[in-house]
């Protein structure tokens, strides 16, 4: 057999010894996820099945995170529909405001993701959980409905691209810079329909939060999933969060890859995606003078505690540029609390930033930081499409928390290496 790590997980869930790329399979799901935008459509489709209950109330997760706390009456109606469905179907993993967090930070934190799992979510950034060695991928609402009813989904088995990592990041360089670099290299459809598998000695130097960020943006290269090997770092995270015994799948030594990219992490520079596609990347040394109006630090890509620590380190004892609205979104309540206990929230507020409750909010132009015509934001989010954060004439520059925080201080896209620490 010569299967990739992703193929091994798919084969195990289709109860077959082997799968080949291109093969269509029906596979058993460990978790089905939806949010306040996608679940209402799925709930309507679910009704068409004519079944009374979901396949397993412990394996469905519903997270109202996009337009919450409800931004308007229509959003409130959508959330109400989801809340009532969760109660009626006795969904165990429904997270009300107060327990809620941004879904892709929340689910691993709450122990709902195990290595070796097969997970679908009606949200394109469901690919995040590959950081823990799970096969997870985004689907639409009808797939979510079918998954809730049957516990199954169909998959076309993907081939894979391998990213063989060596070396270590320089200071102020993070997982965000790595994934932006990769997307810039292969393009927004560079991994279309494929797995992105990360291997090599460089993996061990990446924190679990770096890996979440890298896998989170696999979709921005068109990938079906991104996945890391299950090493000590992943096992330590799982031991802390997930009650289940880890399942460790490994790629075969003779696994076939469509291509292998060698990446020396020490050569990665802080990287920025210019409007209006994530593959429009420049290193920080090439950005030139770009004046900004807003900084957003947060999202399912970069709203974790290590992201907030990096931002706080840069902002500590300083003031943001008065012309830059700086908005920080801890991704979950636990992260919020931890940031409070570590004194990070105080640093943000004293620096003149605002700290918001967890929400997807401005990342998708929902609420809590919408841009006017002609305005520019540096955001640690994942997409910079036309109109993504507001007016069609506004611009989003994707970057790491370090670049975003440094830029908040100066009012221009700024290299964090040039900021003097307190």
């Amino acid at each position: 057999m010569s299967m990739t790590m992703s193929q091994k997980i798919l084969a195990a869930h289709a109860q077959v010894d082997e799968v080949r790329s291109g093969q269509l399979i029906m596979a058993d799901l460990d978790l089905v996820l939806g949010n306040d935008i996608t679940a209402p459509v799925a709930i309507k489709e679910f009704a068409k099945f004519g079944v009374d209950s979901v396949f397993d109330p412990s394996k469905v997760a519903l997270v109202p995170d996009h337009f919450t706390p409800n931004k308007d009456i229509k959003a409130a109606q959508q959330c109400k529909m989801m809340r009532e469905f969760a109660a009626e179907k006795e969904i165990e993993n429904y997270f009300e405001i107060g327990q809620m967090g941004i879904e892709h930070a929340l689910l691993p934190e709450q122990g709902l993701v195990n290595s070796g799992d097969l997970i679908i979510g009606a949200d394109s950034h469901t690919c995040t959980y590959g950081a823990l060695g799970a096969f997870s991928t985004g689907v639409g609402s009808t797939d979510m409905a079918a998954g809730m009813a049957t516990g199954k989904a169909w998959f076309k088995v993907p081939s894979a691209l391998r990213f063989h990592l060596t070396g270590k990041f320089s200071p102020w360089v993070s997982g965000k810079d790595l994934i932006l670099h990769i997307i810039g290299m292969i393009g927004v459809d560079g991994a279309l329909y494929k797995s992105m598998e990360f291997t090599g000695p460089g993996v061990s130097s990446l924190s679990i939060d770096d890996r979440f960020t890298v896998c989170n943006m696999a979709i921005e290269a068109g990938a079906k999933n991104g996945i890391f090997p299950v090493d000590d770092t992943a096992l330590a995270y799982l031991a802390e969060h997930c009650k289940r015994t880890p399942i460790v799948q490994k790629a075969d030594d003779d696994a076939m890859y469509d291509a292998t990219y060698e990446i020396d992490l020490s050569t990665i520079r802080p990287t920025v995606s210019f409007p209006h596609l994530p593959d429009n990347t420049r290193t920080i040394d090439e950005v030139g003078e770009v004046k900004i109006d807003q900084v957003v630090i947060g999202s399912c890509t970069n709203g974790r505690i290590s992201d907030l620590r990096v931002a706080a380190k840069i902002l500590d004892g300083k003031k943001v540029n008065p012309q830059v609205r700086t908005i920080v979104f801890p991704a979950t309540q636990e992260i919020y609390l931890q940031a409070m206990e570590e004194g990070l929230l105080k640093i943000f507020v004293k620096a003149g930033a605002v700290v918001s409750t967890p929400t997807c909010g401005p990342c998708l132009g929902g609420h809590m930081g919408i841009l006017a015509e002609g305005e520019r934001a540096v955001a640690t989010t994942n997409r910079n499409f036309v109109g993504r954060m507001g007016h069609v004439g506004s611009e989003v520059y994707l970057a790491s928390p370090a670049v975003a925080a440094a830029s908040a201080l100066t009012g221009f896209i700024t290299n964090p290496e040039t900021i003097e620490e307190k």
Binding site: M26, P40, K44, A75, T142, R383, F385, V386
Partner: protein, 164 residues
């Protein structure tokens, strides 16, 4: 089954945020969604589109979000078929699941201009540009997906195959 209509022509990487901007996703009503379809890159699309018209684009059509609201808005706006050089995978999957016919054919995409009259024969995958009299043959769906289309979408297919 045949579709015929006027081509609306778009470029590379048409993303789900321009197909249906997130600011309108506080509803799941297909008609309301359709009213805002494509408005950020083609403000007059919804006024001009007629039932049966065809959408044509270059590579990676539908990239970005998993929102099924995107193919739903296109279908409800009256588009009978989307032809592109390539599709983003979640959009492709969602379109099949909701019954919006989509065909991957780089040659046809390259040979169609805005306003051309296009006809598509779904059983054979033959795409004809009636304006220029050129035709192309799109890759047919694999049998598994044909069965799903035959069953009128994923839900009916699964009801028959899995829950029965």
């Amino acid at each position: 089954m045949k579709a015929q209509g006027t081509a609306f022509r778009y470029g590379d990487n048409v993303d789900t945020d321009v197909i249906i901007p997130a600011r309108y996703l506080n509803t799941s009503d297909p008609k309301e969604l359709a009213n805002h379809c494509m408005e950020d890159i083609d403000a007059t699309f919804i006024q001009k589109v007629k039932q049966g018209d065809i959408m044509v684009a270059d590579k990676n059509f539908g990239c970005g979000s998993s929102r099924e609201h995107a193919p739903l808005a296109i279908k409800t706006a009256g588009i009978s078929c989307v032809i592109a050089a390539s599709f983003a995978r979640i959009f492709y999957r969602n379109s099949i699941n909701i019954g919006l016919p989509i065909l991957e054919c780089p040659e046809a995409a390259a040979g169609i201009s805005a306003g051309d009259t296009i006809s598509v024969e779904f059983s054979t995958g033959i795409i004809t540009n009636e304006t220029t009299k050129k035709s192309w043959s799109a890759e047919p769906f694999p049998p598994f997906i044909q069965k799903m289309i035959h069953a009128d979408g994923l839900i009916n297919y699964l009801k028959k195959e899995v829950l029965a």
